[in-house]
C-alpha cells in the first residue's frame, strides 16, 4: 500500500512524512511529490491508496489535481485529503466539488492525520 504526500513546501512534506512514518512498519510505502503535475504523474503510475494533497501549489493546484483524478480519471479508489491554510472556508465547498474525500486545515493535527490514514488503509 502506498501513500502520496504532495506539498511544495519541503518542510511540510517532512512533517507529514514524519507524522505517518510509523505506518512504514505495517508495510506502507510513503511517496512524495512537490507540485501538482508531479503529483498527477505519481498518482497514475503508483496508484496510491491515499493522497495528502496541498491546495496552493505551483504548476497545478490541489483542486485541479483532485478534479482530474476523481472526475476525469474516475479513480474512486484513491482517497484524497486536501490540506489548505486556515480561514479560506469557502474553499471547502470547492474542494468537495472537486471530489475530495476529506478536508483538513493547516496547521494540521498530526495525530488526526495518522488516525485518518490508518482508517483509510484499514490498519
Amino acid at each position: 500500500m502506498k501513500i502520496l504526500i504532495v506539498d511544495d513546501e519541503p518542510h511540510l512534506r517532512m512533517l507529514i512524512r514524519q507524522s505517518l512514518e510509523e505506518l512504514e512498519d505495517d508495510g506502507v510505502e510513503l511517496l512524495s511529490a512537490a507540485d501538482g503535475e508531479a503529483a498527477l504523474a505519481a498518482i497514475q503510475a503508483e496508484t496510491p491508496r491515499l493522497v495528502v494533497l496541498d491546495v496552493m501549489m505551483p504548476k497545478k493546484n490541489g483542486f485541479d489535481v483532485c478534479h482530474t483524478v476523481k472526475r476525469e480519471l474516475g479513480m474512486d479508489g484513491t482517497f484524497i485529503i486536501l490540506l489548505t491554510a486556515k480561514g479560506q472556508e469557502f474553499d471547502r465547498q470547492r474542494g468537495l466539488d472537486a471530489g475530495a474525500d476529506l478536508y483538513m486545515t493547516k496547521p494540521f493535527d498530526p495525530d488526526a492525520l495518522l488516525e485518518q490514514a490508518r482508517a483509510v488503509l484499514g490498519l
Binding site: P10, H11, R13, M14, L15, Q18, S19, E24, D25, S32, A34, K86, P107, F108, D109, P110, D111
Partner: protein
C-alpha cells in the same frame, strides 16, 4: 531504530555497500534483511552500544562493513530524532492555534450581539433590528449582528446612529424618515455603554403602525447595558487572544531557530586539536552562527593513515530547512568520501544523489580536498565555493584555482579536480562567504583584499592563532553591527619540520 528501518531508508547505498563486501545484514533475531553473504563470520551492528543485528560475510570484511553500517545507523537515528523534535514543535503550534480559535469563538462579539437582538425581539415588537459597534472612540461603526432586512435599518450616513453615540442617551424617533429604505418608520435607539465608553448602538425598527413607547425605551436600555458589557469583554478578549497568538508564534519561531542551530552544531567537529598525535600537520576551525541561523558546515576526517579529508560548505537559505538540507548533503558527502577516491568524483556522486531525491530548491556550495599528509599533495574539487587561500610560509598568498563545477544540488554538471602542493610551513585557509561579506554599520564589506592582506601578515601563525587573529580583525571592522551570516574558517598548516 531498527536495521529494518535503516534498510527501508538507505536501501540502495546499503545494498551497494554489502555487495562490495560480499556481505549480508540480519536483524537481532538472525533474520536476513539485505545482501548475499559470501561467508559465515559475523560482526555486530551497534547503535549507542546496543546491538541491532549483524553483518554476515567473510571474516576479513565483516568488521569494516559492520562499522560502516553502524555509522549509517547512527546518522539515520540522529536524523529521525531531529525530525521528531520538529514534529513535536509543530504539534504544539497546532494545539495553540486550536485553543485560541476555541477561545475566540467563545468570546465572539457577534454571538453576544445576536443573542441580545433575539432577546430584544421577544420583548419589543420590531421588523428589523441591529447592533453596530466600534473598537475605539473615533472609529467607524460596523454591524455586529442584525435581524430582518438590513436595508430597513438606518444607514450610517443618516446620522441617527452617530447622534446616539454623541449624546450617549436612548431615544425614540417615531415616523423617522429612512435614508436608504424610503418611507416612514418608527425607530428605537439605545447606546451600548460599557463603563465610561460607548462601544456601539442598538437599534429597533417597526413598520410605523405602532409608535414606540417610553416603556419600550426602558426595556431596550436594560438589554443594551447587559450587552455592552459582554461586547466590551469579547473585544478585549479578542485583543488578548490576538496578542497571545503572536507571542506564541514568536516563541515557536524562536524554538525553530534553536533547533536549526542545534542541528548545525551537532554535525561539525568540536574537539580541538582534532588529531593531537599527528605532528606533520596542525588543524583548527571555527564556526560562528548568525542570529538567523545560516547553513554553513565543515568537517575533516582521516581517510587512512596518510590521507586527510577536508570539507567546507554553505547551504542556500536560512533556518531549519537549510539546516536539514545541510545535514543531508553533509551525510551524503561523508558516506561517498569513504568509498570514492578523487574529490571530483565525490562531488559528482553527491550532486547526483542530491538531484535524484531532490526535495527542495536548495543547493550548497562546497569545497572538498584530500591532503596527503606525508607528501603535502593536495587534491581538491570546488563546487561553487569561495576558493580557499594557500598561505605560503614566506608570506605569499595565492587563491586556489577554481577547478570544480556547479554548486551541489543545483543541476547536473561535470566536476573537475585540481592538484597543488603544501610545502612544509604552508597553510591552507578555507572560509565561507560570511568572512569577506562581514558588514559594518555603514554596510561596507570586509572584502577579499583585506582578507588576503591579513593572511599575508599572519603567515607565520599557527592555525589557532591565525583564525583567532582574523576573527579579531573582522570583529573590529564590524563593530556593533549585527552578524548577518554564519562565519566559518578552517586553517590547515603543514609543520615546518616534518617528522622523520
Amino acid at each position: 531504530m531498527t536495521l529494518k528501518a535503516l534498510v527501508r531508508t538507505d536501501g540502495a547505498p546499503l545494498a551497494a555497500l554489502l555487495e562490495l563486501f560480499g556481505a549480508a545484514i540480519e536483524d537481532a533475531d538472525g533474520k536476513s534483511l539485505l545482501g548475499k553473504a559470501a561467508g559465515d563470520s559475523r560482526a555486530a551492528v551497534l547503535l549507542d552500544g546496543t546491538p541491532l543485528g549483524n553483518v554476515v560475510g567473510l571474516a576479513e570484511h565483516v568488521a569494516a562493513a559492520a562499522a560502516l553500517v553502524s555509522h549509517l545507523a547512527a546518522k539515520e537515528s540522529e536524523r529521525r530524532s531531529l525530525a521528531n523534535e520538529v514534529l513535536h514543535l509543530y504539534r504544539e503550534v497546532h494545539l495553540i492555534d486550536q485553543l485560541s480559535e476555541e477561545l475566540t469563538a467563545l468570546f465572539d462579539a457577534g454571538a453576544a450581539a445576536h443573542s441580545a437582538l433575539t432577546q430584544a425581539a421577544r420583548l419589543v415588537q420590531s421588523m428589523a433590528s441591529g447592533i453596530f459597534v466600534r473598537r475605539a472612540e473615533g472609529e467607524e461603526l460596523a454591524c455586529a449582528a442584525h435581524t430582518g432586512d438590513l436595508a430597513a435599518l438606518p444607514a450610517k450616513e443618516s446620522g441617527f446612529l452617530e447622534e446616539v453615540l454623541v449624546r450617549g442617551a436612548a431615544s425614540i424617533v417615531n415616523a423617522g424618515e429612512m435614508a436608504s429604505g424610503g418611507g416612514l418608520r418608527n425607530l428605537l435607539f439605545a447606546p451600548l455603554r460599557a463603563k465610561q465608553r460607548i462601544v456601539g448602538v442598538i437599534v429597533l425598527v417597526n413598520d410605523g403602525s405602532r409608535p414606540y413607547s417610553a416603556a419600550d425605551l426602558k426595556l431596550l436600555n436594560t438589554i443594551a447595558l447587559q450587552t455592552a458589557a459582554a461586547i466590551e469583554n469579547s473585544m478585549l478578549c479578542a485583543e488578548m487572544v490576538e496578542a497571545a497568538r503572536s507571542r506564541e508564534q514568536l516563541t515557536a519561531l524562536q524554538r525553530e531557530l534553536e533547533t536549526a542551530r542545534a542541528i548545525q552544531h551537532s554535525l561539525v567537529p568540536r574537539t580541538f586539536p582534532p588529531f593531537p598525535d599527528r605532528k606533520e600537520f596542525e588543524l583548527h576551525a571555527q564556526m560562528l552562527s548568525a542570529r538567523a541561523v545560516g547553513g554553513d558546515f565543515f568537517n575533516f576526517f582521516l581517510l587512512d593513515e596518510e590521507h586527510l579529508a577536508l570539507v567546507i560548505g554553505d547551504v542556500s537559505g536560512k533556518g531549519t530547512a537549510s539546516a536539514l538540507f545541510m545535514a543531508v548533503a553533509h551525510t551524503h558527502l561523508r558516506t561517498v568520501a569513504a568509498k570514492n577516491g578523487e574529490p571530483a568524483e565525490c562531488m559528482a556522486e553527491v550532486n547526483r544523489i542530491l538531484l535524484a531525491d531532490k526535495a527542495s530548491s536548495m543547493y550548497a556550495t562546497c569545497f572538498y580536498a584530500i591532503l596527503n599528509t606525508r607528501t603535502g599533495e593536495l587534491r581538491f574539487s570546488n563546487a561553487g565555493h569561495n576558493p580557499p587561500y594557500l598561505v605560503r610560509g614566506d608570506g605569499a598568498v595565492e587563491e586556489l584555482p577554481q577547478d570544480g563545477g556547479p554548486p551541489l544540488g543545483l543541476f547536473a554538471g561535470v566536476y573537475a579536480g585540481g592538484v597543488t602542493a603544501l610545502q612544509p610551513g604552508d597553510t591552507l585557509y578555507l572560509y565561507t562567504d560570511g568572512v569577506p561579506e562581514a558588514m559594518n554599520a555603514d554596510e561596507e564589506d570586509y572584502g577579499d583584499e583585506t582578507l588576503a592582506a591579513a593572511l599575508r601578515e599572519l603567515s607565520s601563525h599557527s592555525p589557532r592563532e591565525l583564525i583567532a587573529d582574523v576573527h579579531a580583525r573582522i570583529s573590529a571592522f564590524v563593530g556593533d553591527a549585527p552578524q548577518s551570516d554564519d562565519i566559518t574558517m578552517i586553517a590547515l598548516k603543514r609543520a615546518s619540520v616534518q617528522p622523520a
